[in-house]
């Protein structure tokens, strides 16, 4: 028996469980996913945008909308992979109950990761619509391509989040991850301003982080900016997704299958 067997039907069953729970509270959940980025768009897009006007010859609202789309995909997937998955793993014993069935730990992780990316896509789509209404989308012919990219961004952030979840002693531990990883990416990976502004070493560092590549991929799809090296950016995101998955599956096995 290969411990890395991944049966699509098993992964789907895990995904479906989370979907059914989400569906019961979809309204509240959507409001959360949707409210924060909307406030950013209104507050900074209009407020700050009024002073800034254009950034790299793109209206600031459009610049910011593509950035917020990416950062909200990051936040949604990270939150799901940390807090929600931890509740299922630790508090509710959901993963352990699933391990008594033919579904294996790596399939649970895969199901969780795809579910987290699905949530990124759900909240991303909502923001996409709002951004469109607020004038944040310049190029409608390529804009829809951003949606599958948001799903990929979700996978790229859910993987590492699940790995952190698998080694966490408690919810408090997640604060470190936010302070050390999520917040710096939010501020330094091109969401609010071009990373060219950063000093050399910080720019090089930013190039290693997934959010930089997410923004580099999504922004040209929504605006008039030229798209460069799309496969490199997609490749980096896919790498984070795969590495995160592998690590999370191993760590979760170590935690639960003692």
């Amino acid at each position: 028996m290969n411990p890395f067997t991944l049966l699509p039907s098993h992964i789907l069953a895990v995904w479906r469980r989370n979907y059914l729970v989400w569906r019961k509270l979809a309204g509240v959940s959507m409001l959360g996913n949707f409210g924060d980025p909307l406030l950013y768009l209104l507050g900074l897009g209009y407020g700050l945008g009024h002073y800034i006007g254009e950034m790299n010859s793109i209206p600031y609202m459009a610049w910011l909308a593509s950035g917020i789309l990416c950062s909200s995909a990051m936040n949604t997937a990270t939150f799901e992979g940390l807090y929600s998955a931890f509740t299922r793993m630790n508090q509710q014993g959901t993963w352990e109950s699933i391990l008594a069935t033919p579904v294996r730990i790596q399939e649970i992780i895969a199901g969780e990761q795809i579910w987290a990316a699905t949530k990124s896509l759900i909240s991303g789509t909502a923001i996409f619509i709002v951004a469109g209404l607020l004038g944040g989308i310049q190029q409608w012919d390529t804009a829809l391509l951003a949606l599958p990219v948001i799903f990929l961004i979700g996978l790229a952030f859910a993987g590492p989040a699940l790995a952190i979840c698998a080694v966490s002693p408690s919810y408090d531990f997640f604060l470190y991850y936010f302070t050390l990883a999520v917040t710096p990416m939010f501020l330094f990976c091109g969401v609010f301003y071009p990373i060219d502004t950063l000093p050399d070493f910080a720019r090089m560092l930013a190039q290693l982080l997934p959010l930089t590549h997410a923004v580099a991929l999504v922004r040209p799809l929504l605006t008039e900016m030229p798209l460069t090296l799309p496969w490199l950016h997609a490749g980096v995101l896919a790498l984070y997704a795969l590495a995160g998955f592998t690590l999370a599956a191993r760590l979760a096995a170590r935690r639960l299958l003692r």
């Binding site: 028996m1 069953a13 469980r17 729970v21 109950s97 391990l99 008594a100 069935t101 033919p102 003692r258």
Partner: protein, 305 residues
């Protein structure tokens, strides 16, 4: 034995330096209820977790239906009732079963029919659409048993199925488990309730410190290890007093705190002596599995764990 449901040969489990299962051998015939008894920390749960693939074995040969326990396809043939309540709090009773059926790849129509049967079996038909949080402890446990039966398993593994339940709920669970046995299922359960083991088990092992102390049918174990009758006495001033009371009688003495247990094949004379001493309170009863358990595992207090 070729057709044993479970066979364990020299199985061991290490957690770091600590050996928690120390070369255990046993086998389980199909269609019986097999008990694993032992104090807290004896290794009962570890033995069960290894059997259901939740804990890799360190060494030895542990087989289920003839395949090594690591064979993941075995999960289609077993049902697990864990010690910890891990029902899905976000779902109703019915949804809990339906979602669980999904993990086994059971289709919606088949699952619905099966769920009706299982709700009936667990006396939960009226509660199908209720949230699990509104159920009593006994109902939740019955739902966990129902959930473990969703894939129609040949073997059901239960870790302390009646811990924390009131007597009524406990008897209902026992009754359900007995009816599973009459359906030809094999049951394995861990417990530290001797009454539960005596009620349900055809055969059992007593485990302590990762080793099997004894094995057999409950009645046989009682006659093998302890005298037929017990007089439990309180009010004796000290050990000397206890020895004097039993002077000239063939009695084995043991004590826990201020209670003295006097084991004898015929306790009539001892009972007469006790009756004569008004300061003593005593109970005269037939020996039970609990006496076997206490004799073999010692009467000292155990730490939780």
């Amino acid at each position: 034995m070729i057709d044993a449901v479970v066979s364990a040969t020299e199985i061991r489990k290490h957690f770091g330096e600590r050996e928690v299962i120390c070369g255990v051998n046993f086998d389980i015939r199909p269609g019986i209820c097999f008990g694993i008894l032992g104090p807290n920390g004896a290794g009962k749960t570890t033995l069960m977790r290894m059997l259901t693939g939740l804990s890799p074995i360190t060494s030895g040969d542990y087989r289920l239906f003839g395949s090594p326990v690591s064979d993941t396809s075995l999960h289609h043939r077993i049902g697990v009732v864990p010690q910890q309540d891990n029902l899905d709090p976000d779902f109703s009773v019915r949804q809990n079963l339906k979602v669980y059926a999904g993990y086994f790849g059971i289709g919606a129509a088949e699952a619905d029919a099966r769920i009706d049967e299982l709700l009936e079996f667990s006396a939960l038909t009226m509660r199908g659409n209720d949230q699990v949080s509104s159920l009593s402890g006994g109902m939740r446990r019955r739902l966990m048993v129902a959930r473990a039966l969703i894939n129609n398993p040949d073997l059901i593994v239960l870790d302390e199925p009646s811990t924390g339940l009131d007597p009524q709920a406990r008897h209902l669970i026992w009754q359900r488990l007995r009816s599973l046995k009459t359906q030809g299922k094999t049951l394995i359960l861990t417990t530290h309730y001797m009454e539960e083991a005596a009620e349900l088990c055809d055969e059992l092992i007593i485990l302590d410190h990762g080793r099997i102390l004894t094995r057999g049918a409950p009645r046989a174990l009682i006659s093998e290890h302890v005298e037929a009758e017990v007089v439990a006495i309180r009010g004796l001033s000290n050990e000397l007093d206890a020895i004097e009371l039993c002077e000239g009688l063939s009695v084995r003495l043991d004590h826990v705190g201020d209670t003295w247990f006097c084991y004898a094949s015929d306790a009539r004379e001892l009972v007469a002596r006790c009756t004569g001493r008004l300061e003593l309170t005593f109970i005269h009863r037939p020996a039970s599995l609990e006496d076997v358990f206490l004799k073999l595992t010692g009467r000292d207090m155990r730490e939780e764990g």
